[in-house]
Symmetry: C2
Subunit: 151 residues, 2 copies
DNA sequence: GTAAAACCTCAAGCTAACTTTAGGTCAACA
DNA sequence: TGTTGACCTAAAGTTAGCTTGAGGTTTTAC
């Protein structure tokens, strides 16, 4: 009987919630944010096309990559409105997010190198260590307030 | 003038704000969260030890690594209370965060591999593609679905 | 036919990490 | 001494991403 809903290509919100693993309130929320769409039946209840499930899966996947809903919405907006998205359509999205993920990883790796450097050099010097470089600390080793007169 | 404050090892909140690049309100906030400490002068105004500057720098650095204030507070609590922290003390913190950063990077890389696989195979198949693997689409009969488990 | 389950809307609540506002005190300088 | 500017507290506001609650309607099951 629940399969009937799939065959009908006409899904109720509770069904979508169960299948996608998100709460009904989340679906309402996503709709209010323009991330998914629905139409209403005679009794004013939401109905969804089955591909909403993939859409939700993709939203969730992008979120685990650290993409904000706003950015996800942007990227999703490149999908065709008139027809059901194809594999290629979805693949294009993946590419966008993979690029963003790459950038994020690179950023984190640069950060890690810095931390590495800080630990490695052992000095945590104000002059060199980028992770502390805004720290205007008056250290014992170079005492005197004079140092701090610059900037 | 402003150097007097450094020599006194007795910094006013406005000075700390300017030197550290955070707002006065943020310093209040950090204090309320137990991330930094101060004492009061006769007129009830906050005074800071100079090492608060390093502390703030470290908080900011950890934040750029994506560490929450709560976690930062935890880690900062391993610093000695009685004496001014040494290089080694700060280095220990770096190590903790470097580890967390490593984990984060690894997680992102696993994620990227998955996205890669999806694009690579070209099929984005429901059965194989881990990024879409729980997307239940028209057709087969199986029960219960949960989205994308993150490992 | 009726009762429970599912659905609806709108508003408020929640966490994180702050910022802003309001109303008042204290300190620095001419 | 007076007037700025820096400081104080407490509370409310902000953004993201949702969840919860209240009060009411529709659908489904027996």
């Amino acid at each position: 009987m629940s399969d009937k809903k799939l065959i009908d290509a006409n899904l109720a919100v509770g069904f979508v919630a169960k299948r996608s693993g998100v709460k009904v309130s989340t679906l309402h929320f996503y709709e209010s944010k323009g991330l998914i769409r629905s139409w209403r039946n005679n009794g004013n209840q939401r109905r969804y096309k089955p591909d909403v499930l993939r859409r939700i899966a993709v939203i969730k996947a992008a979120q685990t990559m650290g993409i904000t809903l706003e950015d996800i919405k942007q990227t999703l907006s490149t999908l065709p409105e008139q027809r059901t998205p194809t594999k290629q359509d979805w693949a294009a999205l993946s590419k966008v997010w993979q690029t963003q993920l790459d950038e994020r990883i690179q950023y984190m790796q640069r950060l890690r190198e810095r931390v590495n450097g800080c630990i490695g050099c052992g000095c945590l010097s104000m002059a060199k260590c980028p992770i502390y470089n805004k720290d205007d600390y008056l250290g014992e080793e170079h005492s005197g307030a004079v140092l701090l007169e610059r900037d």
